[in-house]
């Protein structure tokens, strides 16, 4: 799902650092517009890049509105539906949602939206913490090919892809290299 090796011969650039910055700033604006009670919003990032993207969105919200919205981490590995079918297990990380979710709006944040299975697992995980008023979804890139009835509320970039292509996201904080999004063709 998220690999970092870059095959330079067939790599097609999709977003550079500036495009990512503008996209996330726009997502922050949309979150502000859609949620008049901004203090009720919680950004729950899916490790590892979703956590960083949530942090950046929160920092844009702070710049724009001077309000600090809470952020947390929602790990989905132990809620996936494919445990026992993979030779390699997803690494599980601790979730951190250290506040009651009742009455809150939880915005799930991830880098790429693809089949929707990760988001389903994230919703399942959030419900084990409590019952939020609503759950929304923010992604940096929506690449299509949904396998579940899931649709994002905030999208940095819509990018129609072929299922054989691999969409790669790299962020300075998680990958130690400049921000970039690119497509790799098989």
């Amino acid at each position: 799902m998220k690999q970092t090796k870059q095959n330079s011969s067939a790599a097609v650039p999709v977003m550079d650092a500036e495009a990512i910055r503008r996209a996330l700033r726009r997502v922050a604006h949309e979150i502000i517009e859609r949620n008049p009670q901004l203090e009720k919003v919680v950004l729950a990032g899916i490790p590892s890049r979703g956590v960083e993207i949530a942090r950046r969105i929160a920092s844009f919200v702070h710049q724009i509105e001077k309000i600090d919205i809470e952020t947390g981490v929602i790990d989905v590995a132990m809620h996936r539906d494919d445990v026992g079918t993979r030779r390699e297990l997803p690494v599980v990380r601790a979730s951190k949602l250290p506040f009651p979710l009742e009455g809150r709006t939880v915005v799930i944040v991830d880098d790429v939206l693809y089949t929707g299975r990760t988001v389903r697992a994230a919703m399942d995980a959030i419900n084990s913490f409590g019952r939020p008023a609503r759950i929304q979804l923010a992604v940096l890139v929506d690449r299509g090919h949904r396998e579940l009835p899931i649709r994002p509320d905030y999208v940095g970039k819509n990018l129609p892809t072929a299922s054989g292509e691999q969409l790669q996201v790299r962020l300075q904080e998680t990958d130690n290299k400049p921000d970039a999004v690119w497509l790799e063709r098989e």
Partner: protein, 309 residues
């Protein structure tokens, strides 16, 4: 974390690499968090069947595995048997056949014979988790001890750990020694010479028969239970003698550094290896060990039982 878990079985700490041990501990961090949620259950092992097969009785370890399995949504069957009623070889072969017939995915085995889990692991498609075999290993106990030390002290490398008591008959001691040494701790074994033979020095640990010399230098003391129900008389003269020479009494506990952790795998014999006041004192992490045992066992079941067979 770059390591990946590829083992279907957990038989002992001796064969685990440093990376694998750390990987289990980090995975346990994630599962410890699940215990603080409103709904303390995740679907990770939904549809899997776990068999707790305890040929030797143990309520504590069995319950911990059982609860860990429930929290991972696995189905659990408990089978207990008396080792004396069947000969060993037949028991294990029959066990293997029965478990295959039940389509068990994970077998948690406690057995009085060292090597019994290995024997079954070699013959079963199911994951085999060693819950204590003879005087050989008790890997999940050592992992939860390592987890507790790491949680309280932030690291294990460089710490001086004293393991006190019946080392000779203790699988907990063996698994702890392997784990602690791999992670860079210094280990001193303390107890009567009959129960702590010098041979242990070959493993890379120190041996001392004078508890009062060791206590002031220790960062962790792990007190092992005197298994007086199993003990043959010749190993030490009596409990009174043991308490006088090796018991962690209230007086003796004053020798400890203020930040020294006091551990015990339980069940504790109050007034034998440890005084009540000490067991319930601020330095005691005995109940943390119980809580962490659940997280560590969830991690082990998830890792061994979660990979495709």
């Amino acid at each position: 974390m770059t390591t990946r878990w590829t083992r279907k079985d957990l038989l002992g700490l001796r064969e685990l690499s440093v990376d694998e041990i750390n990987f289990v501990l980090e995975t346990a961090d994630a599962f410890k968090q699940v215990g603080t949620r409103e709904i303390k259950k995740v679907p990770a092992l939904r549809g899997k069947t776990l068999v707790n097969f305890f040929v030797e009785p143990s309520t504590r370890t069995r319950t911990s595995f059982e609860l860990a399995a429930f929290r991972l949504s696995a189905d659990v069957i408990n089978i207990s048997a008396t080792a004396s009623s069947l000969t060993k070889g037949e028991t294990l072969k029959d066990t293997a056949r029965n478990l295959e017939a039940l389509h068990a995915d994970i077998l948690v085995l406690r057995h009085s014979s060292a090597g019994a889990p290995q024997f079954l692991a070699n013959r079963l498609k199911a994951s085999v988790i060693n819950a204590g075999d003879g005087a050989h290993e008790h890997p999940t106990q050592a992992l939860l001890d390592l987890y507790t030390i790491r949680e309280r002290r932030g690291k294990i490398a460089g710490l001086h750990v004293a393991i006190i008591g019946d080392i000779l008959f203790s699988r907990v001691a063996r698994s702890n020694i392997f784990g602690l040494l791999k992670l860079g701790a210094r280990v001193t074994l303390v107890g009567p010479s009959t129960l702590v033979p010098r041979e242990f020095e070959k493993l890379g640990v120190e041996v001392s028969y004078k508890i009062d010399d060791v206590l002031p230098k220790a960062d962790v003391v792990n007190l092992l239970r005197i298994q007086h129900e199993r003990q043959r008389r010749e190993y030490f003269p009596g409990l009174g003698e043991y308490i006088r020479l090796f018991g962690l009494t209230k007086e003796r506990a004053k020798l400890l550094k203020p930040d020294c952790l006091i551990m015990h795998p339980g069940p504790i014999n109050r007034g034998v290896e440890i005084d009540s006041e000490v067991a319930d004192g601020l330095q005691s992490v005995i109940l943390d060990q119980v809580t962490n045992g659940l997280a560590v066992r969830m991690a082990v079941l998830y890792l061994c039982g979660g990979i495709a067979a």
